[in-house]
């Protein structure tokens, strides 16, 4: 079995680019990720959604790699590529047969600097991004989540959805997007992370040759506006089509680097079930969690999920309840509250703690199986801490005590620290 710390190479190039390399020889593949420290967190009103739109534009070509040509080349080689924009970061990856990875390096270096942002392409993409937003708006769960997030953050950039507000998507200009790109896509604001079947020494030589000549630029300054402490429960109501009510409860939660974060992971596991650690890991079922038993077995809800994200600044711990159409969301909230009260009254049981830790061990293994996942972790952990955070994760988690989780519950799971959202379905069945 691979030990994660074996053979990790950590280098900072002269232009500021951070490089993380991990040889993994389980398959003839290499996964290459480039991470930029920019996401919706960095956006101000007027340009909300810019980070995500810039991500789309990064697929529209450079003079060296015209649009469309890259899809074909990567597909032809049997590779896969994609990109993600999140609150704190934007990341691009290619996973390719090991002997074809050079293309990914050349592409990522090139589009860090030379993307065209052709005006016509920007306009075509405006329609696509708005269509993406409209697709989200078809989902009641998106509409509710957007309102809850906006109510929870009055000041901080976590206020708006990654996709951005419709009005900004309609009015943002090519130059807005291009400036955003030039400001944040510089070597000193990026991390290159790779895992797979390669020799780190040779790979590093190649990276120096390709990325080393990119012009240095100062790391963009960005001062987040901290969210003031919430001093009273906030309630939002959303109406829309459908038959199914939804309930969303969001507590301000610790940032990933906060010592409380892992106690919150354990609490979440007990309350709503263990969840996967990132986009590429599937979780397990949560049918023995306290909330499932109370809400779903209690015949009020069809499903309940908890969610905690590893973020730079304090974000949210959310509980999402799909209420049965024949039940009321306020009744579901009463039952949810009773369960949260139990967590505030007494420490969790030792058996629950041990279960949460074993679950974390399994999910941790599942979340780092492929080279794509391993390269993901190398870079992702750098966004809010460093790779040591990832390596030490299970060790630190196993040191959490039941008392710590009680303290953590009392600190974060207070009513005055939360936003409650109700989706009130207004009916409207399909007709042909």
């Amino acid at each position: 079995m691979r030990k994660p710390q074996d053979g990790l190479t950590r280098v900072r190039l002269r232009n500021g680019l951070e490089v993380r390399l991990m040889p993994v020889r389980t398959a003839p593949l290499i996964s290459c990720w480039i991470w930029y420290r920019v996401g919706s967190r960095n956006e101000v009103p007027g340009i909300t959604g810019a980070s995500h739109w810039v991500e789309h534009m990064q697929f529209k070509g450079t003079p060296t790699f015209p649009a469309g040509e890259l899809d074909r080349t990567i597909s032809r080689d049997g590779g896969t590529w994609n990109a993600f924009t999140w609150l704190d970061w934007t990341a691009y990856f290619e996973t390719m047969p090991a002997d074809r990875i050079d293309l990914a390096l050349r592409l990522e270096a090139d589009r860090m600097v030379h993307s065209l942002f052709n005006k016509r392409e920007v306009e075509a993409e405006r329609t696509v991004v708005i269509a993406e937003r409209q697709g989200h708006e078809n989902e009641p769960t998106f509409r509710l989540a957007e309102e809850v997030q906006a109510a929870a953050f009055r000041v901080h950039g976590y206020h708006h959805e990654v996709i951005g507000d419709l009005v900004d998507l309609q009015t943002m200009t090519r130059d807005d997007l291009y400036q955003h790109y030039r400001r944040y896509y510089v070597p000193s604001n990026a991390v290159l992370s790779m895992a797979g079947n390669f020799s780190p020494r040779k790979m590093l030589d190649r990276i120096r040759a390709i990325f080393g000549s990119l012009p240095p630029a100062p790391r963009p300054e960005f001062k987040p506006r901290p969210e003031p402490e919430q001093s009273g429960e906030r309630i939002v109501n959303v109406e829309g089509p459908g038959e199914t009510p939804y309930l969303k409860v969001a507590y301000h939660a610790p940032a990933a680097g906060d010592p409380d974060f892992l106690a919150m992971v354990v609490l979440g596991s007990v309350l709503a079930g263990a969840s996967g650690l990132h986009f590429f890991s599937s979780g397990i079922s949560n049918k023995t969690s306290r909330l499932y038993r109370a809400l779903v077995e209690g015949e009020l809800a069809a499903a309940v999920q908890g969610g905690l994200a590893a973020t730079i600044d304090p974000y949210l711990y959310t509980l999402h309840v799909t209420v049965r159409p024949d039940r009321s969301a306020s009744k579901a909230l009463e039952v949810l509250d009773a369960e949260v009260e139990r967590l505030l009254d007494a420490p969790i049981e030792q058996a629950e703690l041990e279960k949460a830790i074993k679950q974390a061990r399994a999910l941790f293994a599942y979340s780092s199986e492929s080279v794509t996942q391993q390269a993901f972790w190398l870079g992702f952990s750098e966004m809010f801490a460093d790779y040591g955070w990832f390596e030490g994760y299970l060790g630190r988690l196993s040191e959490i005590s039941a008392e710590q989780t009680l303290e953590c519950a009392r600190k974060y799971l207070r009513r005055s620290n939360r936003t409650v959202g109700f989706y009130h379905p207004q009916g409207g069945a399909a007709h042909g």
């Binding site: 032809r76 590779g79 089509p241 397990i284 799909t322 074993k358």
Partner: protein, 433 residues
Amino acid sequence: MAEKTHSLPTLDLSALPGPETILREELDNGVTVLIRENFASPSVVVAGYLTAGALADEPERWGQAHLTALALMRGTEGRSFQEIFEALESVGARLGFQANAHSTSFQGKSLAEDLPLLLELLEEVLSSPTFPSREVERLKSQHLTSLAIRAQDTGAQAQMAFDELVYPDHPYRVPVDGYVESVGRLTPAALRRFHRREYGPQGMVVAIVGAMERERALEVVTQALSKWAAPGGGPMRRVPPAPELKEIVRREVNLPGKQQSDLVIGAAGPSRFAPDFMAAALGNSILGRFGLMGRIGDVVRERAGLAYYAYSAVSGGPGPGPWQVLAGVAPEKESAAVELILQEIRRFTQRKVSSEELRENQSNFIGRLPLQLESNEGVASALAYIERYGLGLDYYQRYPGMIEAITREQILETARRHLDPERLAIAIAGPER
């Protein structure tokens, strides 16, 4: 950058699953077991299927196979619902079942140390589920909630409308998860009856892939599954050919308050058993998969900027599943998108694909194997796939040769056979027009 004389990738065939690395055994009760080791991670995946599917639903009880599969884990002779999930979740394992038309498939995952537990639970829920009334009623209510959500989902509504157009008087017309009325008729007794009649080890396939030596895994699976004896099971059910469309047929579903429309355009395609399936799969890749979703993605999304997603799919199951183009578009762009898609289907059925397109798609089909077969999940489903369609243990080793042999003429022939541009179904679900 584009190399015009691109050579096909050369794979190390011995690294792909093959007779040397797959252990295949038939247990005395009829279960077929396939095992492959992978010590790259400490986990193990169990995946497979039984031949009980929605085709066996009783008339007017659509959703019976679906609900039976979901209810298996709601209680057995030995354990309650909570005890089953406590056993699984407390070790971070998972197990789930899902019915489709021809079969019920399952997938589980655990740390390798917990494989015996996982297989023991698999056997227990298959052989002795009790379908407790209380649990079945709960499950029904949850399922009715999911049908209420489906009724508001533009993608799901477009697909259902499409299936009704393409499969009138054919079993594929009915959604596997049933309808509100038919699910309302399902009782614990109906699920018990379905289970007794349809579930059994005959025809069951189990693939196990992960961090356990294969002899040991065989021992564990034999111990767990060989005790199951039940008369259900047997060969997979077949379906008649799909009726032929006589013209372009169209259906619109109105969902007030929605912001986007989903559309599905196509017809019945080849089954996985059809001689021209591989040509159809490769052709479909050119039409709507390759790169950022092939010709369709290029025209509809990239050039016209009409959609957030646009692609095509050929299902190729045990029967004539759909060959279809799917897209999500702004409501006011529906007609423009439909016209562009029809134009691409016409072109696809009128002219041969170019040599370059053929070559680069062949290259993709071959080159992507290591990525597809990297994870335990990927290998386990590949093993179940080759067993389901009788492709032989050396299938992945023969695969590059088979792909390379497909010609432009074969692709045009198969396109013409299945996608006549004058006989297609067009289904759209979106806001009121």
